[in-house]
Amino acid sequence: MSQYGFYFDKEKCIGCRACEVACQVWNNAVQTVKWRNVSCLTRGTYPEVTGVNASLACMHCAEAPCKKACPRQAISKEEDSGGVTVDQSRCVGCMLCLWACPFGAPQMGVKGRMEKCTFCEERPVGKIKRACEEICPQQAIVSGRIEDLVLRSKQVVAERLSYDKQAEVILGHEEK
């Protein structure tokens, strides 16, 4: 079984929320239900302020807490993609999955059943990007096989360090 997932680059995300809307438009979701959600956090006091943005959807966990929490066995793990999906016909809208999920990913739909990221199940993996990934102006979201994404994140970090003036300090294992 392959396990697919999302890579997210917080250095690139500008918090524009295009991913949220692309997800809604592609999946014909209503505008108030967000399968993907962007959070913008700031810290510090003027003028020493830092901020970070995070775009989060279902992580399609290997050991999905939502699946374990569901009393109706409505949540399953897809064999081919490792995607975590909700069977709408079994769901009774008890929201236990939302309470169990550490990322708050499952969302109550307008029909009283839980909905969540389907990893754009219609879009064949490898042939086309997920809707959120395709729209992102900064290419901050990348989907793919977990092994590839882990490799990618290592490469991204290495590339950043290679251009960083302070990289030698870090690469020289100097204590921070």
């Binding site: 929320r17 295009a18 809307v21 692309a22 003027y46 960083d164």
Partner: protein, 694 residues
């Protein structure tokens, strides 16, 4: 191409389009099935690739919005808009235009628009055939100072950015990662930063762009010119400018250097004005001068003050004296594609304009766009000549210009007012005739994009126009027939004029139609190979003889003569901004965007808010000497103390939309009529306010 994958999954057909939400006009792909737009994304063949910003992807709603203008309307004697037929509307407008031309001359017609390339049809009809010199964009409310500074320095109105190759970028009062700007530019800037490019942002507010910057300089509002001059002083004093480039390609370098040194625009001088320490100014100036390639650019945050023009002239001069211009990683003097006119008017039919454009006639001969703040005087007092007919196309000065009351008075007094729009905008509500335009999903458009090289976007109708709405070219054709100019607007389908317009491009019509974009070669340092610049001297002009002849300062200085600064009665500087999730009237009835944020706010620094007993979300009254408004407070660490920051373009008692109705606060009545004395650009931020909790 992956568009085929989508078409296979959804059974759709791809129709290339263009986004009309903001002025950057990114190329798009629309996916259509059974007369409905099912999905939209960026054009895979273009530099922005499949990406869209949040407003772009959300704009799919405007292809379905039943709150759009669906038929022509005319205001009756009770002031209520009633439906009329296209034939009646165009017949009546044409007759009134003829009467006004006969009695007051063609210059009595003023037509304002907002960056729509189909306006070439308007130019043919109203400019060449009818003969008015008063066709203008709404730039006075936008980038007027930048455009004039660019025309003066580079003889180019809209320099763009080649971030992909930059090593150092400095942005002044510009927030490309926030409200908008070209998507490919944003992506390239972040990619470059990953490779070590440094970003410095000058802004009183910690904007989205400042959030990503290596260095944020929270400058005192309106003092950017002083900072730029101090950087120039240090660069000249340490001789870190590009001497060889200045000798060969810069007009007036020695005068500029002498001016900067003799006026003692030192970092020490600038420190007290700008609130940026002299050490920082020196460090940034050194880094800018010594890192190549570099670019610096400014936008609305500078233009919004009476000091904006000189600030931008200095910013452009800094690029020039360090040799950072039109090369890889620099500001690029964008080359245009060889597009033809969609229709031609034979010379004998063209009406020679006798009167000067309003701007020139009213003392602003260098204004790139009409200083729209002068319009009320022209309409209400007939000065310098009578203005009797006003057209507004996809622009909404009732919402975007200051001094709303004066605008309303003007609209009530003018003889003929016509608004062409896709929504019942605030300006449409004040107009006698309202003509429904087809949205970008329902019409064709051949336009130049804002990519650094030549790039043509060929947008095609994806669906039928909603209701009775019509594309602008069909409206102009219909009006031309009623005005007796029908012979010059002959086509069976938009493809007839689109073929003519694109005939000189080195691509077949069929390929262009299929892809929706054509990109030429991005050439650098064109002035070196193409025989210099189009400026009078053929060089980059940091000393302007033209300005001198017109009685303006040939060199950029720093004067706070026209500045409005906070005092005891009005202790806050009101600065306006755009919201990341909205762009003017056209996003206000959008369910995707309204679910993200539905109202604007006044942003205050935490310390200021605490002192005034204001908590986040409290309703407050914001009062200027001109007017007051009620709005929610947003308490934040991101904004400079003493500054009140409000996103504009919201509110005004909207009647047009189910979602827009009653939402937001219209802040523009608080702004007085203030302009840059040379460019006529609107100085929105020359406004001080008092704030109290209610």
């Amino acid at each position: 191409m992956t568009r085929d994958v989508i078409n296979e999954i959804r059974g759709t057909k791809t129709v290339p389009g263009v986004c009309m939400i903001c002025p950057w006009h990114c190329p798009t792909e629309n996916f259509v099935k059974n007369g409905r737009v099912e999905y939209v994304r960026g054009n895979e063949y273009a530099v922005n690739a499949t990406s869209r910003c949040v407003k772009g992807i959300s704009s799919i709603h405007s292809s379905r919005d039943s709150d759009r203008l669906l038929y022509p309307m005319k205001r009756n004697s009770q002031g209520v808009h009633e439906r009329i037929s296209w034939d009646d509307a165009l017949t009546q407008i044409a007759a009134r235009l003829k009467a006004n031309k006969d009695a007051f001359g063609p210059e009595s017609l003023v037509y304002l628009w907002h960056l729509d390339s189909n306006e070439t049809f308007t130019h043919k009809l109203f400019g060449e055939l009818y003969g008015t010199p008063n066709l203008s964009g709404h730039g006075a409310a936008c980038d007027q100072d930048r455009r004039l500074a660019a025309l003066e320095t580079f003889a180019h109105p809209l320099p763009v950015k080649d971030y992909a190759n930059s090593r150092f970028v400095m942005l002044w009062g510009a927030d490309p990662f926030g409200p908008n700007e070209a998507l490919h530019e944003n992506r390239e800037l972040l990619e470059s930063m990953k490779k070590g490019c440094r970003l410095v942002v000058v802004d009183p507010n910690r904007s989205r762009t400042a959030e990503k910057a290596h260095l944020w300089l929270p400058i005192k509002p309106g003092t950017d010119g002083a900072l730029a001059l101090a950087m120039a002083y240090h660069i000249i004093e340490t001789k870190s400018y590009d001497q060889a480039f200045c000798d060969e390609w810069v007009h007036g370098f020695s005068e500029f250097a002498e001016h900067v040194l003799s006026n003692e625009y030192t970092p020490k001088w600038a420190e007290t004005i700008t609130g940026i320490s002299r050490e920082t100014i020196i460090a940034v100036a050194d880094e800018f001068a010594l890192t190549k390639p570099a670019l610096m650019d400014g936008l609305k945050g500078l233009v919004n003050y009476t000091t904006g023009l000189d600030a931008l002239r200095t910013v452009f001069a800094l690029n020039v004296i360090t040799g950072n211009i039109d090369g890889p990683g620099n500001l690029i003097l964008k080359e245009l594609a060889p597009l033809d006119m969609p229709v031609d008017i034979p010379e004998e039919a063209i009406t020679a304009t006798e009167q000067l454009p309003l701007g020139s006639a009213m003392g602003y001969p260098l204004a790139p766009d009409m200083p729209t703040q002068l319009l009320p005087e022209a309409v209400l007092e007939g000065n310098p000549y009578p203005v009797k007919s006003l057209f507004f196309h996809i622009c909404n000065p009732a919402q975007s210009d200051p001094n709303t009351r004066l605008f309303e008075k003007m609209m009530a007094a003018v003889d003929l007012s016509v608004t062409i729009d896709i929504y019942m905008s605030e300006t449409a509500q004040l107009s006698e005739f309202v003509l429904p335009e087809a949205s970008t999903y329902e019409r064709a458009e051949v336009r130049e994009s804002l990519w650094a090289g030549p790039q043509v976007v060929f947008a095609q109708p994806a669906i039928e126009p909603l209701g009775e709405s019509k594309p602008l070219y069909e409206i102009m054709k219909g009006l031309a027939e009623k005005m007796g100019y029908g012979e010059y607007f002959q086509w069976n389908s938009w493809e007839d004029w689109a073929r003519k317009q694109t005939a000189f491009l080195p691509v077949t019509y069929e390929e262009l139609k299929e892809k929706g974009v054509w990109e030429g070669e991005l050439r650098y340092h064109k002035f070196k190979t193409d025989g210099g610049l189009a400026t009078p001297s053929g060089k980059f002009e940091i000393y302007s003889n033209l300005f001198e002849e017109m009685g303006y300062s040939p060199l950029p200085g720093f004067s706070e003569e026209h500045r409005i600064k906070p005092d005891a009665e009005y202790p806050f500087q009101l600065i306006n901004c755009k919201m990341q999730y909205h762009c003017g009237t056209h996003t206000q009835n959008n369910p995707y965007l309204m679910s993200i944020v539905s109202e604007n706010w006044v942003e205050l620094n935490t310390n200021d808010a605490r002192r005034l007993g204001i908590a986040d979300g409290d309703r407050v009254e914001v009062s200027s000497p001109q007017a007051s408004a009620t709005i929610s407070a947003k308490v934040s660490e991101a904004v400079q103390p003493g500054v009140a920051r409000v996103p504009h373009g919201h509110g005004f008692g909207r009647r047009f939309g189910t979602l827009a109705r009653g939402k937001g606060t219209h802040i523009n009545p608080l702004f007085e009529t203030r302009m840059n004395p040379v460019s006529g650009g609107i100085s929105f931020n020359e406004c001080t306010v008092n704030i109290r909790k209610i």
